[in-house]
Structures are given as structure tokens and as C-alpha cells.
């Protein structure tokens, strides 16, 4: 099985109910993360770096920012004659209320694609993986379906599905929302199967009115040869505001950055032609990640700062995530905030959240 025989299908609205404010106006896929990225960049780059040439992104709502981010797909080298990214939004009279119905409504599209396999993925997994190993194992195992999992702690507000498998990787049991303590084999929402089987399973589910995707996976384990593949990279699942905050702060760790942002498998994103970040004479920066296009004149500590942010002289910003083009005026004192895009905080303001409860400042707010 070759990589270019796999079609990548990404759900853009993963965990959107529990990401609350961050997904109020945008899909999970286009939530800014790690200073210069959007959530979907990770899975999309993994697919592109694994030579998957065609990718579909299922968009349910709030996908303007997603469409803007994806553009032609050229940032991922997916805008060629033989490759491309297609955004699949709801269309007239069609209900994208759950996964099965959504996939069923798009069956005409899937019937037309040339690839023989489909790899389904969520958009909120932060990892760097070469999928060709998964493709190889799927064919060597002669599996009908291969599920991707990671042995990890259950993220906050995440409804876990756990996988147990035998010593050759054949799945024995899938449990939904079991009572787990400590690490478990957490299903990451990625699975690969033949397109024909995929269409057959979806049709059958609709015919039998079984619309719960997770319960269906449980059923398939009994009926088909289902294998498990453990994601070899570190993986974060961004399922809540706290998980979002925690992951951004973990990026201060150089080893984690080296693991996620590899020179030979880069995480690609839409770029702006920002100048390098400029530090003024009065700047003081400690333990922070800062993107290009910023102008830092104030004090910054333990922050992740996206492109085009200005922090004025005398401002003190600690433990914050600041998204692109926001402005912090002089003598502000900010602590534990998630400051969305294009926010302006005028001079002299003091605001604080807490480590366990970072406060989100809405996009385009003027304070």
C-alpha cells in the first residue's frame, strides 16, 4: 500500500464543545496554537510529510477562518495537479449533526476519489508522525481497520475510548468512557480502512440507524479484523481550555519542541511575511516563545506570543498566551490570560486569571 493511495479525511470540529470560548467563532482546526500555528497544521503536515496527496476537511460550522487558513493548500504543498485539499462544508438541506450522517451525506464525494484507502483523523491531535509506518502495518497485518492510539493520561473533559490488544496488535476490546486511573491506551480518533469497506460500513450504519460512531467501532472489533497502532510520537489532545493552556506552556521545553518540530518533517503552516521579532532597549524577556513580527518593549515572562504582537514599554505580561496582532499598552499588568487575536489592552490595566483557570479575552476586544 502506497501513501499516495490513501485519502486523508480530517474532522475540523473535534472537541469543540469543551474548547468553549476558543471555538466560539471558529472551528477547532483553526484555533491558534504554539505561537504561529493552527491546530490542524499538525495532522495536515503529518499527512503531507507522509506523501498523502489528497486531503478532505469536513467543516461543520464557523469555518471562515479555516478556509482563510487553508487557502489553496500550497503551504502544505497540496495544491498540485495530482494533489489537493478540499474543504467539505454542509450543503443545501444536508445535516452534519453527527459523524455517520455527515459521512453518509458526503458518500458521493468519497465514491469519486481515486485513492483506495481512507485515513480518518481529528484536528486537535498535536503530534509529529510519519504515517507510512501505519500504512505499512495496516497492509502487513492484512487488517480491515487499524485504530491509532497513544498510551497516555486521559485529557481533561475528554470522553475516552480505550483499546486493549493482543501481542500482535489485534484489538480485543474497545471501551467507551471506562473508569481509568493513570495512563491508558487512548484511541486518538484516527483510523484507516479501505474506501469500499468504509462506504459499506457507513451505508449499513444508516440503514440500521446506528448513528453513534464510537459504538460502531466497538461493534466492528467483533465483526472485522481490527488492529491497533500506537502513535510513536508524543501526542497532546487539546480537549479543553486547561489542556490548551497547559500544552502551550509545555512548549517552553526544548526537547518537546525538537520532537514536534523536526527539520526533516516540518510542521507547515500558512505564513505571513513578518519581519524578525524586534526587541527594544527596555525589553525584558524570560522563558518565553515569541514569533516573528512582534515588537517587545516591555516585560514578558512565561508567555507564548504569536506574530505581530506589540508589548509596550512598562507593560508586564506573565503566564499569558497572546494571539496574533494583539496590542498590550504601557503599564498593563497581565497574568494567566489567553488573549485572542486583535485584542487591544489600553494602558494601565491589570487583569489576572489563575494557573488552573486562565481567562480568555475575546477576539477584537478593546479593554
Amino acid at each position: 500500500m502506497k501513501s499516495n493511495d490513501v485519502f486523508g479525511l480530517i474532522f475540523s470540529n473535534s472537541c469543540e464543545d469543551t474548547l468553549t470560548e476558543l471555538t466560539a467563532h471558529r472551528t477547532t482546526a483553526s484555533v491558534p496554537i504554539g505561537g504561529k500555528y493552527r491546530m490542524i497544521d499538525f495532522v495536515l503536515s503529518n499527512l503531507a510529510n507522509s506523501n498523502v496527496n489528497n486531503v478532505g476537511i469536513i467543516a461543520k460550522s464557523g469555518f471562515m477562518s479555516l478556509m482563510d487558513h487553508i487557502g489553496s493548500g500550497s503551504a502544505w504543498d497540496l495544491s498540485k495537479k495530482r494533489s489537493g485539499i478540499t474543504i467539505l462544508p454542509p450543503y443545501a438541506g444536508v445535516n452534519f449533526s453527527n459523524k455517520i450522517e455527515t459521512l453518509y451525506q458526503l458518500r458521493g464525494y468519497f465514491e469519486d476519489i481515486e485513492e483506495d484507502y481512507i485515513l480518518l483523523s481529528e484536528s486537535n491531535n498535536i503530534f509529529n508522525v510519519d504515517f507510512t509506518e501505519l500504512f505499512y502495518l495496516h497492509s502487513v497485518n492484512e487488517a480491515d481497520i487499524t485504530l491509532v492510539y497513544k498510551n497516555m493520561l486521559v485529557p481533561e473533559k475528554f470522553i475516552p475510548m480505550t483499546i486493549s490488544h493482543d501481542n500482535v496488535g489485534k484489538v480485543e476490546k474497545v471501551l467507551i468512557q471506562p473508569n481509568v486511573k493513570g495512563k491508558c491506551n487512548l484511541y486518538l480518533g484516527s483510523l484507516i480502512l479501505k474506501k469500499e469497506l468504509f462506504l459499506e460500513l457507513i451505508n449499513k450504519a444508516i440503514a440500521e440507524n446506528e448513528l453513534d460512531f464510537d459504538r460502531l467501532i466497538q461493534k466492528w472489533v467483533d465483526e472485522y479484523d481490527v488492529y491497533a497502532y500506537e502513535c510513536p510520537s508524543t501526542c497532546a489532545v487539546i480537549s479543553s481550555m486547561n489542556e490548551y493552556y497547559k500544552f502551550n506552556m509545555e512548549l517552553m521545553n526544548e526537547e518537546l519542541r525538537d520532537e514536534l518540530f523536526k527539520a526533516d518533517r516540518p510542521i507547515l503552516t500558512k505564513v505571513r511575511d513578518d519581519a524578525p521579532c524586534k526587541y527594544g532597549l527596555t525589553s525584558s524577556v524570560k522563558n518565553s516563545l515569541v514569533s516573528q513580527g512582534c515588537f517587545i518593549e516591555g516585560e514578558v515572562e512565561n508567555c507564548v506570543i504569536s506574530k505581530g504582537v506589540h508589548i509596550a514599554k512598562g507593560a508586564k505580561v506573565s503566564n499569558c498566551i497572546i494571539m496574533q496582532d494583539s496590542e498590550i499598552d504601557s503599564n498593563c499588568n497581565l497574568n494567566y490570560l489567553i488573549i485572542d487575536k486583535d485584542v487591544k489592552i489600553t494602558s494601565g490595566k491589570s487583569m489576572a486569571g489563575a494557573d488552573s483557570y486562565p481567562i480568555h479575552i475575546e477576539k477584537k476586544s478593546v479593554i
Binding site: 500550497s74 519581519a275 524578525p276 525589553s283 524577556v285 516563545l289 515569541v290 516573528q292
Partner: protein
């Protein structure tokens, strides 16, 4: 048939830039990294695009690999149109024989057919090694208004520096009556910036004549422009005000970079396009001091920085100190090293506690001081001291 372009730009990018020494050992001068994420040629290319010029020929000859790869299909500058865009033009073999570009005018002459394809009214000749931002439309309007055959952009330079430039002596109306190439006693401070607009019909004629002259060195400044002036063509100097710097020497390259850190210098980097590094944001560790510096994506900074520029993917180790220096992509400055008034080229490694360059105040005789340059991919061993003004082209150990 290719649609007509009103203006075709030709960027002279074939020069070796020998005065940049090790920095241009494996790449042409226009490909030298500049300003934290750019290469010099980004400036003329961005100026073209921002002026609405869509057809840009880039004349390459010396070490063209890096430059050709960088330009690619021209997409980062929006120069990837269906019938226009950026094209690297190298010397080629033809039926009549083969020839290198023997001079600036000859490079254009050999590409007359490239220009003719677009059937342009005007041709803009640019250098690939100047740092400036300019709207060429203003100059073109000036050219048209004067009904000129040739317009040369000119900048007012300090009197004591005028003898380093080609000086344009003009009448009151801006028309040129004399070229003075690097004059000992300059009559004016009106220096040519090496930016020319020609009416293509006229230039085409003079290029052909120049090519037939066996005594010509096929150079714009030395041959073609004087020939046009002698023939009584209308030639004008277009006064340009703003930042402009020829970065042909180590000192001027270093100065132009430092100018980016000076809030009083009118050079900003808005709308300058380039290829972008695919790296995460840069990281600044706890307990370090960063003052008045530019830092690109992908850097890891564990040491102190002042008045310096870090390109993408640079690593500064713990306790290292960088002052008034330019650290090019992928270079590593190991723990405890000191780099002052230096240019460290791509992927060079400066070992632990090494000392590269010196502050002018530390040097007794001012003539012994200069910017230190470390060539690309070199390893400077632990504790090595590299003196000021040195140009290093091989690995060093204690």
C-alpha cells in the same frame, strides 16, 4: 503569444562580490543573508512587485545554485504569474557560439529576446545588491514626464564619500550633462544608485551598437551611458530620498544590518517578501538579557544579546554574549562564547568560551579594528580567540 508588459525589470545578480570574501565563496552576492530572514535580492524583488512590475529577469552567472534555488518559481514574491514572473537568466550556448556575460550591458544584450517577448515600453535595470525600498512608478512617471531615453536614480551622498560613487552632474532641469565615475574632485554629491529606466527602443539600439564595438567593455556605466550622452539622448537624474545602501563590503553589510536596529534610520521591513523559515517561534530562556535585537523563528536563546541579529534556527548557549553581531541561519554559539562586532555565516559553530571579534574600545590602534567574519559551516574550537578584522575560511583549534 505573451501579453505585453509595460515594464520589464532586469536584476543584475551575476557578480561575485569578491569584497565580501568568505560570505560569497559559495553563493552570489545577492543571495547573501540579510536582516534576520532575508537575502539581499528580496529588496529589489519586493520593490518590483510593490511597484506592480510582473516580469523580472534575474541575470545570474557567479555561483548561481543558491540564488536559483532561492528564487525558484518566484512564488514568495508573487512572481509566479501565468505569462510573467521571475526568471533566472544564465549565460547560454547559442548557434553563433557561447559567451559569458562580459559586462552589465552584455548581460542585457544577450537577453534581448527575453525582453522582446514582452514587447515592453520600458526596461528597468536594477542591482541585486542594494538595500532600499522604492516605488519605481514614481521614477517611471518622472521618466515619462521628461520624455527621457534614460533616467538614473540618484541619491545625495556626503561630500567626503562622493569620490566612491559614479557622480551625475546635472543641469537645473535635472538633465545630465556629465558622468563622473569615482571622481577625485567631485563637482556634486549626486550619486548614481545603479537604478536605470530606459525606453526599450533606445536601449535596444545602443546595446546592439555596444556589442559591435570590439573596444567596449560592455558596461552600462563605462560604455552605454556615455555613448547615449554623447549622442545627445535625453538623460535625467531622478532624485531619490530615503534609505539606500550598497552592501558590497563587509563593513557596509554589517552597517546596513545594524541600521535595522536604529529607530532613527528610515528602513522598515514591511512588505519585504522572502522565503520563510518553517520553524517554531524562537525561545528566550530565563535569566537572559535581550536588548535592541532582531530574532527570527526557530532560535533558542540561552545567552545575552545586544544590538544583534539572529537568523532562523540559531542557538545561543548558556552564558554566551553576543554584541553588535549578525548570526546567520543555523549557526551555533556554544556556552560561554563571546561574539562581538562579527558576522557568523550559516551553520558555523563557535566553541565553548571562544572569543570572536572585539569591541573597538578594546583595540589600541583603530586601524587594527574591523568586523570579524566566520565563514559558513566552519567550526571554531573551544577557547579559540579570533581577532578583530579577521576573515576566517577554515576551522580553527587552540
Amino acid at each position: 503569444m505573451i501579453p505585453k508588459q509595460k515594464v520589464v525589470a532586469m536584476v543584475l545578480a551575476g557578480g561575485q562580490g569578491s569584497r565580501l570574501g568568505v560570505l560569497t565563496k559559495k553563493l552570489a552576492k545577492p543571495a547573501v543573508p540579510f536582516g534576520g530572514k532575508y537575502r539581499i535580492i528580496d529588496f529589489p524583488l519586493s520593490n518590483c512587485v510593490n511597484s506592480g512590475i510582473e516580469a523580472v529577469g534575474i541575470l545570474t552567472q557567479y555561483q548561481p545554485l543558491v540564488l536559483n534555488e532561492y528564487i525558484g518559481n518566484g512564488q514568495p514574491w508573487d512572481l509566479d504569474g501565468m505569462h510573467s514572473g521571475a526568471n533566472c537568466l544564465s549565460p547560454y550556448e547559442a548557434k553563433g557560439g557561447k559567451e559569458w556575460y562580459t559586462g552589465t550591458a552584455n548581460a542585457i544584450y544577450q537577453n534581448i529576446s527575453y525582453i522582446d517577448r514582452y514587447n515592453p515600453d520600458y526596461v528597468l535595470i536594477l542591482s541585486g545588491d542594494h538595500i532600499y525600498k522604492m516605488d519605481y512608478n514614481d521614477m517611471l512617471e518622472f521618466h515619462k514626464k521628461n520624455n527621457a531615453a534614460c533616467t538614473i536614480a540618484a541619491i545625495d551622498v556626503p561630500k567626503e564619500e562622493a569620490s566612491r560613487f559614479g557622480i551625475l552632474n546635472t543641469n537645473k532641469d535635472g538633465s545630465i550633462y556629465e558622468f563622473d565615475e569615482k571622481p577625485e574632485h567631485p563637482k556634486s554629491t549626486n550619486a548614481s544608485m545603479g537604478i536605470y529606466i530606459f525606453s526599450w527602443k533606445e536601449l535596444r539600439k545602443y546595446l546592439k551598437e555596444d556589442a559591435e564595438d570590439p573596444d567596449s567593455s560592455n558596461d552600462f556605466g563605462k560604455n552605454v551611458l556615455p555613448a547615449m550622452l554623447d549622442a545627445g539622448e535625453r538623460m535625467f537624474a531622478y532624485p531619490f530620498e530615503g534609505y539606500w545602501k550598497d552592501v558590497g563590503t563587509i563593513d557596509s553589510l554589517w552597517e546596513a544590518n545594524m541600521d535595522l536596529l536604529d529607530p532613527n534610520v528610515g528602513l522598515d521591513l514591511n512588505n519585504v517578501y522572502s522565503r520563510n523559515p518553517m520553524m517554531p517561534p524562537h525561545y528566550i530562556a530565563d535569566g537572559v538579557t535581550i536588548q535592541n535585537s532582531l530574532i527570527a523563528d526557530g532560535c533558542n536563546v540561552y545567552g545575552d544579546l545586544e544590538f544583534s541579529i539572529l537568523f532562523a534556527g540559531v542557538k545561543i548557549g548558556k552564558g554566551a554574549t553576543i554584541n553588535s553581531s549578525i548570526i546567520m541561519p543555523g549557526a551555533v554559539i556554544e556556552d560561554g562564547a563571546t561574539v562581538e562586532f562579527a558576522i557568523v555565516a550559516e551553520n558555523a559553530v563557535i566553541g565553548k568560551n571562544a572569543k570572536v571579534g572585539a569591541n573597538p574600545s578594546e583595540v589600541k590602534n583603530r586601524d587594527d579594528w574591523g568586523v570579524t567574519v566566520i565563514g559558513d559551516n566552519l567550526k571554531i574550537g573551544d577557547n579559540v580567540v579570533v581577532p578583530p578584522k579577521a576573515m576566517i575560511d577554515k576551522d580553527m583549534e587552540v
